[in-house]
Amino acid sequence: MGGVDTDLIDIKGVPDNALRDFLKKNAVSLSVFEARKVVELLGRNPTLTEIYIFNTQWSEHSSYKSSRAVLKALLPTQAPNVILGPVEDSGIVELGYINRERYGIVVSHESHNHPSQVVPYEGAATGVGGIIRDVLCMGAKVIATADPLRFGNPNGQNKNKVKYIANEVINGIAGYGNAVGIPNICGDVYFNDSFDENCLVNVVCLGILKEKDVIHSYAPKNAEGFDIIVVGKATDNSGFGGAAFASLILDEKDRENNRGAVQVPDPFLKNVIIRASYAVFEEARKQGIGLGFKDMGAGGIMCSTSELCSGSNFGADIDLSKVNVSMKGLPPYIIACSETQERFTWISPPQFTKTLLKIYNEDFELPSISIGAGAFVVGKVTGQQDYVLRHEGKIVCDAPVKSVTEGIRYERRKTAPKRNFKEPNLKETDDYNRALLSVLQHPNVASKAKAYKHYDTSVMGNAVVETGYADAGVIKAVEGSNFGVALKTDCNPMYCRIDPYWGAVNAVAESMRNVAAVGAVPSALTDCLNYGNPEKPEAFYDFYEGVRGIADAAKNLYYKGTKNPVPVISGNVSFYNESASGKSVDPSPVIACIGVLKDYSKAITMKLKKENTNLLLVGDRKDELGGSVYYEVNNEVGSVVPIIDFEKERNMIYAVVDAISAGLLLSCHDISDGGLAATISEMVLGGDADGEIGAEISLDFTNLRAYKALFSQTSGFVFEVDEKNVQRLHNLFKFYKLNLIKIGSTAGRNILITKDGKQIINLPISKLKEAWTTGFAEALE
């Protein structure tokens, strides 16, 4: 490659041991093998800047070096409704046609686990900030976020730390999302001891655009000579090495050292940048200008600019001295790789550059919003294949651009770990009232209001079903059209602990059921794969099985009316989620399902609407209590997790969507954590726990023992149906070869459950409310 003007670091002539020490001393995560590979690619020893570039780009976080081959081989990412698969910052799935124009839902799903464990408020906040950038940079209007969270045991050994982290994460999500003004429409929270030293903070973001308006994360055609423009906060040294950091195992001792790697959120500046960027989109569309636009996340300016250019076979020539910085004397490798928040890169034809700069710098006055902020031309797109960085007149990097962006691959070994789970033999309890209350009070079942009431769930004014009222959140998608978008995230960590394959299948199926339960057609999936250390064959086995489970579920739970998969259009892999003691978190392939409603007005909630209506069940109850909340409150884990019968499951999902579309259901709730008994209790209570209509249920439809019928988490739904619609509903379910069972009716002010003519549960709504509304709140206190 080309010559550079700065000192080269000797790699070639240094023996392995000395090289290992050198890399460690300089906080470079590259292995000796990888450092030698850098020399091979460059054809010479690297500069310091080049070392840090490869250090970032070849981190697991940026390169997917362990995971890519598995993802590519297994996941279905293409389908007729896919506008853009998982290749750029976000995936895009079809919403539908409005005035003959095809609209897409832009989706991104990421993790911010390691930063959140170290500095939970900032970690969670910058997680939200990053995901919003991913969606915005596709040219989309950002419309919603969601947050799946996993925390440690709030009553265990590390309870104080766990509670602190949980509260700070929730505050961080609120502090950022509320200020930028994007509604939080759903999420899920689980607690267990596997997350004691490594919480999971995932975040999902949705946007909307016309297909023709997509702005890609690569330079447009004929971009040679186009300007490279950096916009946003002035670059500092925050988050330097963040991508490499995300790929390290957390050691409590290193907490202080790692602190510098976490970025600093500025939602106020982001609020203004979002609006200014919308103005740029509008102006560019008006003038018919082709642009490239990319978020600056992991790897900062270097990653963003190299991928924009490399993506369309261009090179880049960038002067780092032209980057707006907020600290004096920053070395070039920090300017290039720092992960300062609230920044983007544009590729703009020179004739549009002035307009673009004016919008950010004058119309929206970025320089007066935050010191040093603004939009600045820092370089040019070149026709060569070199990635050139200059600093103070010297060339500090000159590498083949493809070598910077293509990364490396590893083939990891996998070995099935030993899993010694057994089914317990529980006695029938003599107090089912108490059993139900303890399940409802479990923080994994209890109302999450204490978290989501911190979040702005109604900003933008388009929420149709806000967080908590139903199995999924629903928002009106586009002004002037009837489309609605539904969203829900899921993954039960206990299922995955017992069986990483079926745990993943269940996560997909449940997310689809949740979206169907509001009447939306499950249309696409995203996966955020949170696992342990991929260099350990047992952890890699769990990862592989998880991906296989997602793939099988996505391929076999067809997109409604077709045999196409429900495609996986975006995702993220987060490895090294384990503590210094080597304990991995429960395998956590967190799934988000995006659903489409043609008519948002038909969306329904879970709360019972009327007295003297029918309560119907679909989904036979089975002896599948492995990983259930009931086992957990009895200090058991079990071994038999719910098994998904793909044909039945998809028919169930389609039938529910059809039933809601035909207006046959008054309310609907899927069966998951806590089983049938929790499902009915939540329908009685409603999202605000202000329900006033009770239910009378008989368990005589099943031969299962009472606790299994009540608390098995086998998939299914409960519906509230007016008498006049029961026959039509039966006919509809018959068409899908499904058995619809009447289990009771809405009545009174209590929940009354009988078996074999004997009353086993009789609780007033007030008792249900007390248990369900306190369990989660207590976990946080």
Partner: protein, 272 residues
């Protein structure tokens, strides 16, 4: 030629985030309007009324609304308000109206504060649905011409600092006497209770909205623009369930639209 429609400026200060839905509510009530940035103040006096939307103007540096209240655009808004144009400050906009002395506007200085919420359930920012009751006669201020006395309006709140307080003991008496307290937090049946959850932030006297003496300026903490369409109502609202399955019904006016409809009537009768 049809009569001129009232034209409303929805003023965006850097950090606000409710400008779009505020404009949508303005348009839905039959007015014209535009989002006007803080630095586009030239000519802003030509608008017939102003909405100061919610959010975090100037990052709520120092205190919510303080910096926005010192922005030069507020001098113009003050002047136009003294000429009787209507000004509606919602949430962060309400905080700015209090910080610039327009509300309650008795001494032309800051007389009250919107203090951090007192809430036994969630500390800090709190987002939930509440009910407010119009405790004055219909039409007492520019925003209640269509809201009966004792009429109840459901709206969401979304704030961390929404607790109306004052150190001036006589001020509350004056506000009551002047009929400046327009909306108070109530149950859905209209019962005013001091405690949580009916009063979601611990505001004195359960105050949700105050107007100036002349009634053309109002500072309201809940969000009428997020409660102006049936579809925006919470999943538990009977009114919403009644319209399930009907887009026309869902796009229809929810009770809080009355505030914007009233603003329109006021401009048509008093300004145009």
């Amino acid at each position: 030629m049809p009569p001129k429609k009232p034209n409303i400026a929805v003023v965006y200060f850097p950090g606000n985030n409710c400008e779009e839905e505020s404009l949508r509510a303005v348009l839905a009530s039959g007015m014209d309007g535009k989002i006007v940035r803080w630095n586009q103040r030239k000519g802003i006096e030509k608008y017939d009324g102003f909405v100061i939307p919610g959010g975090w103007a100037y990052e709520d540096r120092i205190r919510a609304g303080v910096i926005a209240a010192k922005d030069p655009v507020f001098e113009i808004i003050k002047k136009e308000a003294s000429g009787m144009k209507p000004v509606l400050g919602i949430c962060n906009g309400a905080q700015a109206l209090v910080e610039c002395g327009m509300i309650p506007g008795l001494k032309n200085k800051v007389e009250m504060a919107l203090a951090p919420n007192k809430n036994p359930f969630v500390s800090g920012y709190y987002c939930t649905w509440v009910n407010v009751r119009n405790v004055q006669d219909k039409g007492r201020c520019a925003f209640t011409s269509f809201t009966e006395k004792d009429g109840i309006v459901p709206m969401p709140i979304a704030h961390g600092e929404g607790r109306y307080v004052t150190k001036d003991r006589e001020l509350l008496d004056k506000l009551v006497k002047n009929k400046q307290i327009i909306f108070r937090y109530s149950t859905k049946e209209g019962k005013i209770e001091d405690g949580f959850p009916t009063n979601p932030n611990g505001a004195m006297y359960g105050i949700a909205a105050i107007c100036n003496k002349k009634g053309n300026v109002m500072a309201i903490m809940p969000h009428p623009e997020r409660a102006s369409f049936i579809r925006q109502l919470p999943g538990s609202a009977e009114l919403k369930n009644k319209f399930a399955g009907s887009i026309e019904g869902m796009e229809g006016a929810a009770p809080a639209r009355q505030l914007f409809n009233s603003m329109k009537k006021y401009v048509e009768e008093e300004i145009l």
